[in-house]
Symmetry: C2
Subunit: 382 residues, 2 copies
């Protein structure tokens, strides 16, 4: 007898959101608004898995389900009545055809371990996570990690998406990456009942949240992770007070290295994902305008300008400035550096490499222009 | 007998900078620093044409030549001793092989009229101007205008280049666009003596001012002009208080329309100029971070939010906020709109069109998401 508790994709789709932080809850709100509209395509009711906790003696799930507000992670935002908070992960995903993953990166391993064996191979998934899974000389995107561990096809959603602004229904855009699976074991018997790109657009698009659906899942994920490293470097330069030209220069170099990283290590991706999509250039712009990684980088640039002998690390600043939240780019900078080293490719990624060396090996930010110039000199054969 | 007072390109090149505003003087400083180094390639002495004026009873050219400071337009910056300010335009360009144009757009017509007939057809030129020349249903880049009116080959220099930061030698980048002329009348007898891309890199590159030399003159010029329209639109959204996501979305859409404009109306350009070069995405980023066009747009967005019936125009705000300087994007928005209308192409450029209509036809900024959504719906056939 099958142990699967989720279902193969077939219409109307039942959608489950796994995760209930500010971004998870915001995406659940969007999804619920759309499942109420497209009732031929989706079951209106949407489960959201909530890691249960007590707020003033009441369970968070109970508060969400009765007061329609996630008072802990998205206070002040009215949630749709068809959103159901569920504290048990397996109960939450039961009978769903589409699972939207939206949890902090560090919980993915445990969530996948709990779901393993219970997910039908024709259930479809979308990952809203940022980050990469790196081990020794292998880099994996998180949809690929989900696919590998749960045996299901998984797309991605990423963009210039600061959650609080979207929760308030301020205008923004995102990129959904999905393509019909080519692997035989992921193909359903009746393809006509399966999830299409157009279905996903209907699931996520709102008048205030515009969706572009593309094929390049890997590019969307790499851009979402690598841009955090660039944001740290842009922060370094801002902390030094070098001005807008220098910051734009770092962002441009970073964008080029993001493209190059994808083209070098993940064949088949589309360079335009980085330079044209919300998940690429637009997300880079918001992240460098004052996101967490930029703030940590800027503080480091400022402190080391005032006192070059200071021994504070980026992690120290992360703890001091971010109030328990993490600057994902610090970890990504380390992982990217280690990976590039195994590939003997540090020199080809001077900005990524310099960002790591500044953060962890005492390289001075003041050397950045010279480091970048050396690469150009090689290019121009000077 | 020839009336030419400039020379065909031949080494060592004599360089003249036409223009002495803050950007003109900054570029002249850079050029002088390099002509002192590469003496095989360039004559060290560089003339800079200065529109003469009196400062406290002394001539500006005399102050520049004796005190090595442009006290009017670039105060506080020490200029190299090999920079010579010349008040007469023809005297300034006499015997030069390379002319660097760096004057406000509105003076180009008169400068070209004065130079006409005196410039040798094998003299080389670089335009640092931003803007387009538009008449009826024809759009011309400014190097093309210079070529047409002076009969010389002309490249371009443009990038994320706020002049005061570069004058202070803070790190930045730029793009130089140049290719060997294909027109027979512009080809010299001895091509080995002519200006190469590498020569131009040596002329403009500094440890603090990194130069990338590409072929796409048209793309560099279009990007430099069109980004100002996008900066106004980004300002609208900032003025409304819609946040970083919305601003990044407008910038991304704008960037795509810039690429599309070039590809539609100027065949043969390279879309990567817009998405990968300093003259493209990086210049867009600095311009939307708080340049003049962005400031005017933001003020308009804020005022019309507080009082939707207000009748102030962008030009009123330009006068109030910019202290006599111009927001080039206002004029460019008008020119682009008129041109697109003659091409029956308004619908294909929804952001450019909406920016004009918001500024001049009372369209509300609040309609922007809906306007952009309509275009997507057509794309997705919804």
């Amino acid at each position: 007898m099958s142990t699967f508790i989720t279902k193969a994709a077939s219409r109307p789709f039942r959608v489950c959101v796994v995760g209930s932080g500010n971004w998870g809850t915001t995406v659940a709100k969007i999804v619920c608004e759309n499942t109420q509209i497209y009732t031929d395509l989706f079951e209106p009711k949407v489960n959201m898995w909530v890691h249960e906790e007590e707020i003033d003696g009441r369970k968070l799930t109970e508060i969400i389900n009765t007061e329609h507000e996630n008072v802990k992670y998205l206070p002040g935002i009215r949630l749709p009545g068809n959103l159901h908070a569920v504290p048990n992960l397996l109960d939450a995903v039961r009978d769903s055809n589409i699972i939207v993953f939206n949890i902090p990166h560090q919980f993915l391993r445990s969530v996948c371990a709990q779901l393993k064996g219970y997910v039908h191979p024709h259930t479809r998934a979308i990952s809203c996570l940022k980050g990469l899974d790196v081990s020794a000389n292998k880099i994996t995107t998180l949809p690929a990690y989900i696919s590998e561990h749960l045996g299901i096809h998984c797309g991605a959603l990423s963009g210039a998406n600061l959650a609080p602004e979207i929760a308030q229904e301020k205008f923004s855009e995102t990129t959904v990456a999905y393509r019909y699976p080519s692997t035989q074991e992921w193909k359903p018997e009746d393809e006509s009942q399966d999830v299409t790109k157009d279905d996903l657009r209907k699931l996520f698009h709102r008048p205030y949240f515009h969706v572009n659906v593309i094929d390049d899942i890997t590019g969307v994920c790499l851009a979402g992770a690598l841009k955090n490293v660039v944001a740290i470097a842009a922060g370094f330069v801002d902390g030094r007070g070098w001005g807008e030209n220098a910051k734009a220069a770092i962002m441009r170099r970073g964008l080029l290295e993001m493209v190059q990283f994808g083209q070098t290590f993940f064949k088949g991706g589309d360079p335009r994902t980085y330079t044209e999509e919300s998940a690429g250039v637009a997300d880079l712009i918001t992240s460098c305008a004052g996101g967490r990684n930029h703030r940590v980088g800027r503080a480091y640039g400022k402190l080391t300008k005032e006192d070059p002998t200071i021994t504070k690390t980026l992690q120290d600043l992360e703890r001091e400035l971010l109030n328990g939240q993490s600057a994902q780019g610090i970890l990504t900078a380390v992982e990217v550096y280690k990976f590039l080293k195994t590939q003997d490719a540090l020199e080809q990624f001077p900005l990524m490499t310099a960002t790591y060396r500044i953060a962890f090996e005492g390289e001075s930010i003041d050397e950045l222009p010279k480091i970048l110039e050396q690469v150009e000199k090689k290019k121009y054969k000077l």
